[in-house]
Symmetry: C2
Subunit: 435 residues, 2 copies
């Protein structure tokens, strides 16, 4: 963990190093992935069965058996403890409500020249949702990826989840049913993405693919981009906590560790105007680490990427935060909205001393799929907008053409596009009224 | 040009061939482009000066001279004929009005559990706009790319345009000034994208890059993706015209040719319920080709990629259109809105017998940067949304945590993330009121 102080001479260099700390573990898997995609495109279902047997050690009698049956989902859902089922329901209800409130309205306007223009939102027909298997299978991510698609009006949501050695996570299947997933396949890795993007006899292709995955999945999504839409490739998670000395140091320590326990490459940064408070938080972090189950991961993240920055005032904190453009931002001061109003770049903000980021990971309502690695400068979290697209339209009659057609003809001629000009000129002065 | 009829036995195969006709001319320039980017990242301005001298045959005394001066823009703007200046003004006014009407509203809601959630839109800080040089320099594209950014509230819009042998297009500079571009650089190709994405001493880096370009520019944008946001890589243009027999065949022929004259890889498709009308349109296309300045390009496009499809009824036409998901769609029937209501996938629609697509290329108002190659299934045209991003936020106090914290703790434990659970549990039952 690094200590930084804006008053120190070397601060700017240290802070720049923090900004440049990519924390990426890029592995070159392009060739392997393109080979798998080529195989699935050429041999279809047969390739899926073979790859799943070899890579996930699960033998499907045939490709049809790759699909998880409704009975299997029933059984898995029934096996979920009541307390967990209720917690899932609370999360689903709140996530759905927040995303429903985001739904945009269509636009229609008629101007003084008599031209009517508009914009209409339509849902994507079919979406593919990738869910990692094993330990990384998070039911909360199933809700966060599938519910916005369902709220947007996507008719078909096809989920792929690897089941290594046949292992199924009941809570993941329960979340998928709750979120309105319409089909689930025992498929993982690049072969799952290939099946979703290009389709096979069994797996119909989709129009857009979302969901987190390992390096093979990320590269497969890159290679499928253009053929289908994809979400952004997520990097390691991060949090910036703005906290004054009036907070409980243990609260802040736990918030920093909640981020750190995700991944050794995760990053937790505390920005405070109280150096003494910073020291108390650092002590609390060490104390909590001594008993934390995932202490090895969280400790490595905190040691390698963690930071405590002391600032002279909150305007400095706001400026540093905008440069960091963090995925998660907690604002733990008396009037958090005053600081939020000055934040231009952040994926998601959590306001108040009693509003930890982890609340947003599960039940607050806003999405937990967020832009990482400073991409909040230009990117946003997952939302209904990821599953909608726009069709703009123009309605004009002969009168409208007479009013504005001339400008179009002039510009078309200036650009040397005569057929453009003629197609407009041919309508000017004429009449579109049927005799 | 191909004739198709839904009544023919071989129709489905022929139509599938039409769908699979990628029309892409992919050239492998990855290595060249990554070399140029590496050079600009390593040597900065010196590399920009050398590459511009070598590739665009324009010698800058130093990197500062790469920036087009305000005086040069004044002179260029003053040299634009009044008629063209007025046409640009009409276009800018209408494009700005339509995009201003798109601006989304922030969201804020408080639920029964007392949790306040919201969503706030912020503009990207800095945008880079690439404009091709030479013949492909379209002033209309400058308006269509820059105005949505300005309307969204982007403070800095940096434009790069190559000036081969020093040649400047006055109308392009006039459009840039009208659209609120804040700086213009004599830079083209991959070196322009590298300068915008990574920055040099002279060129400050941007957060997002938009605008069309050749294969080198497209590949450079691909390689910069993640470092900055990029718009979608546009393919060859296309139009689908739905027209009944009551239309003037010449009008439809000119609309098909307006698309075809862009590029030999462009595609124009007429779908009609009147085979005789289709034949008259085909004849009119040949007649117009005999006098069209860009007949060589338009003729090649029509011969290789054009099609006339005869349908039994309009429901068939709607189904085929949704499968084509065209960039541009003209609906030339008596009640075009009835058909539009059934179209799920199209970039932009033009309604009525007197509303040619070319009107939308210049002055209608909606953007002319649209999804090509069937990507309208999941993608949208350029809009203010491309220059805005969202920050979601949550505000909760001790009471709210008591209400929903339990569900978060349960799910965090189920996912094996104990620090997540503890960070929530630590706030439950406590009080956030200051003593």
């Amino acid at each position: 963990m690094k200590w930084l102080n804006t008053q120190d001479a070397g601060f700017e260099a240290d802070f720049q190093a923090l900004l440049d700390d990519a924390r990426e573990t890029t592995s070159r898997v392009d060739a392997i992935v393109s080979g798998i995609i080529e195989d699935v495109r050429r041999r279809g279902d047969a390739a899926l069965v073979e790859l799943t047997a070899r890579l996930d050690r699960w033998d499907a009698s045939d490709a049809g058996a790759l699909r998880i049956t409704s009975a299997e989902i029933d059984a898995a859902t029934a096996s979920v403890p009541a307390e967990q089922a209720e917690a899932l329901a609370v999360a689903a209800r709140r996530i759905e409500a927040f995303h429903r409130a985001q739904l945009p309205r269509d636009l229609e306007m008629t101007d003084t020249e008599g031209i009517c223009t508009g914009l209409r939102w339509n849902a994507v027909d079919a979406v593919g949702l990738y869910v990692p298997g094993g330990k990384a299978a998070y039911p909360s991510s199933v809700l966060m990826n599938a519910l916005p698609a369902r709220v947007a009006g996507v008719a078909r949501i096809a989920m792929c989840v690897p089941t290594p050695d046949g292992a199924l996570n009941p809570l993941v299947l329960a979340a998928a049913r709750l979120a309105g997933v319409t089909e689930i396949w025992r498929l993982g890795g690049a072969q799952a993405i290939a099946a979703l993007a290009w389709g096979t006899r069994q797996v119909q292709p989709v129009d857009r693919i979302v969901g987190p995955g390992n390096a093979y999945v990320a590269e497969a999504k890159r290679q499928a981009f253009g053929r289908v839409g994809i979400d952004s490739i997520a990097g390691p998670s991060e949090v910036v906590v703005l906290a004054d000395g009036a907070n409980d140091p243990r609260h802040v320590a736990l918030d920093l560790l909640a981020q750190a326990e995700h991944d050794e490459a995760a990053q937790s940064i505390l920005i405070t105007d109280d150096a003494g408070f910073g020291r108390r938080v650092a002590e609390a972090v060490q104390l909590e680490l001594s008993s934390l189950p995932r202490a090895a991961i969280a400790g490595a993240s905190w040691d390698q990427h963690g930071a405590i920055i002391t600032v002279a005032d909150w305007s400095q904190a706001v400026e540093l935060t905008n440069r960091l453009a963090p995925e998660h931002l907690q604002i733990m001061v008396d009037s958090p909205r005053q600081l939020l109003a000055q934040i231009r770049h952040a994926g998601a903000a959590f306001l108040g001393r009693f509003c930890p980021e982890a609340l947003g990971d599960y039940v607050a309502g806003p999405n937990h799929v967020l832009p990482t690695g400073r991409t909040a400068r230009f990117a946003s979290g997952l939302s209904v907008f990821d599953f909608l697209k726009r069709t703009t339209w123009v309605e004009a009659d002969a009168g409208a053409m007479a009013a504005i057609g001339g400008a179009a003809v002039t510009l078309a001629r200036a650009e040397g596009l005569d057929a453009h000009a003629m197609s407009v000129a041919a309508r000017m002065g004429g009449s579109d009224k049927r005799p």
